[in-house]
Amino acid sequence: MNDIMQLEEPNPTVPFFKGPQIFISTLFSDWYLIRNMIRRDLKGRYSRASIGFGWIFLEPLLLSAVYYVLFTIIADSAEPNYSLYVIIGVIVWGHFGKSLQAVISCLTGGGNLIKQVYFPREILAISPVLSQLWISIISLTAVIPVMWYLGVMPNSTIWMLPIALFLTTILALGIGLIFAPINALSRDVSHLFRFIIRAGFFVSPVMWTYEMMIVRAPAHWVDFIMLNPMVIPLTYARHGLDGTPLLIETSHLLYCIGFAVITLFFGMSIFKRLESKVVKHL
């Protein structure tokens, strides 16, 4: 037979710092599988509803309408574009929350498949995030009627919008990858994160804006609030769409980017290190 092949350990545990490299090579080598998984996600979610993909627009619109009414009654905001800010906030935060939850439960949800076939398990984490990204990009078109009604036009600052989505995506992926293997050991993790995502909705500028915070919060609180890495992506998305310039401290910006990148790299490493060990717990 073939004598060139060596005896090798099947799918060995990888060294900690090789995780990111493996993720990136899988992304290219198994792109076709990832594409099929994304199609499965999307078709599974919308193919049996008669409005179908229409729900992608309807959900953020309806949700924002409720929040808008509720918060204008309570808070009585003087901000003329408040309704636009709310809908952008709801979509971007929704993108973060749904992506994060999908990654955290990727191993537990794919347990059946994992135990029957060996395939690169990072695909289970990457594909739901990419499906959610696709859904979020489509749902962002729901802001067009609101912008048209308010007479807001995007301009050269539109580049901030893709940056915002990108930062949100890698934040959700990174945090999710760290906790997905731990969630396989104990489902407490996904319950905890369901709470964190709900609480984060209020702690992050979804119903309020960065500018409101700068005006109202005591100065020594600002640094503390900016520790939340989602403040900048949400603010970038808003300024990208309404075209107003944004003044943000460089240190805050660097912190946010650093946080996202380090979390992603650490997440990829820890996920690859632990995933094969936790298969027994599924």
């Binding site: 090798e8 099947p10 029957q116 293997p181």
Partner: protein
């Protein structure tokens, strides 16, 4: 004689319960405590020769499927080392990769790519899969409209369209009507003949006698004996006594 698979002193245990802390400790290092776990495999030493058909027999829950999954790299052993020469492919539950809302054709692409095939390869297999599964015009209908027999036929058709160096079969025969069962048995036997090395788990001793070169008997995670087919089957019936 060269070996296709070498297992030395394999031990594997499953956790009992869901301890977060103990699970974490376990994931980072091998702890020696025997509390809160049950042993699935213990001190298994096994060499599978290149080009042989090895059968695995044992009672339900004795560790046969776990052994195959260690060979396939799905479970990492907690103790000992496993080495394989070349690619392995596990034929187990036949429609785990399926989605109810995709059409038959889309499912072929999905499941095929999970098994590691490229797009061109899957397009090439499509006609063969259509012929073998006898699904006909349902191929472009969502899978939820299929009968369970149709799903099983589609599953076998995709799963058996592989060309691994080492084939691991976990009791996949016995789905569909008798005609189809006969057909899928023939297909898997063809696959066994065309593949170099095969390890198969089955409860069908008749089939084992037909195709296996050697058998191993596993009981309670221990490898009881390795040897000639008839000897090992005799040893199996000795277990109860």
């Amino acid at each position: 004689m060269t070996n296709a698979i070498e297992m030395t002193d394999i031990g594997l245990h499953f956790p009992k319960g869901r301890g977060l802390l103990s699970g974490l400790i376990n994931a980072f290092r091998n702890n020696k405590s025997v509390k809160n776990r049950y042993v699935a495999l213990k001190e298994v030493n096994l060499e599978v020769h290149q080009g042989e058909v090895l059968g695995v027999i044992g009672r339900n829950g004795s560790g046969k499927s776990t052994l195959l999954r260690v060979m396939a790299g799905i479970y990492h052993p907690d103790h000992g080392q496993v080495k394989v020469r070349g690619t392995t492919s596990l034929l187990a539950g036949v429609n785990v990769g399926f989605n109810q809302n995709l059409t038959g054709r889309e499912n072929v692409h999905l499941y095929g790519s999970i098994l590691g095939h490229r797009k061109e390869k899957i397009d090439g297999m499509m006609q063969d899969i259509l012929d073998f599964s006898e699904i006909g015009e349902f191929m472009d209908q969502p899978l939820r409209t299929y009968s369970s027999g149709m799903k099983a036929r589609l599953g076998i058709a995709i799963a058996s369209a592989i060309e691994p160096e080492i084939l691991l079969i976990d009791e996949v025969l016995g789905v569909g009507d008798p005609q189809f069962r006969e057909k899928s048995k023939k297909r898997i036997l063809d696959l066994v003949k065309s593949t170099g090395t095969v390890v198969m788990v089955s409860h069908s001793f008749g089939l084992m006698k037909e195709i296996c070169d050697r058998l191993i008997l596993i009981d309670d995670g221990h490898l009881i004996c390795i040897g000639e087919v008839s000897e090992v089957i005799a040893a199996y019936y000795e277990l109860d006594k």
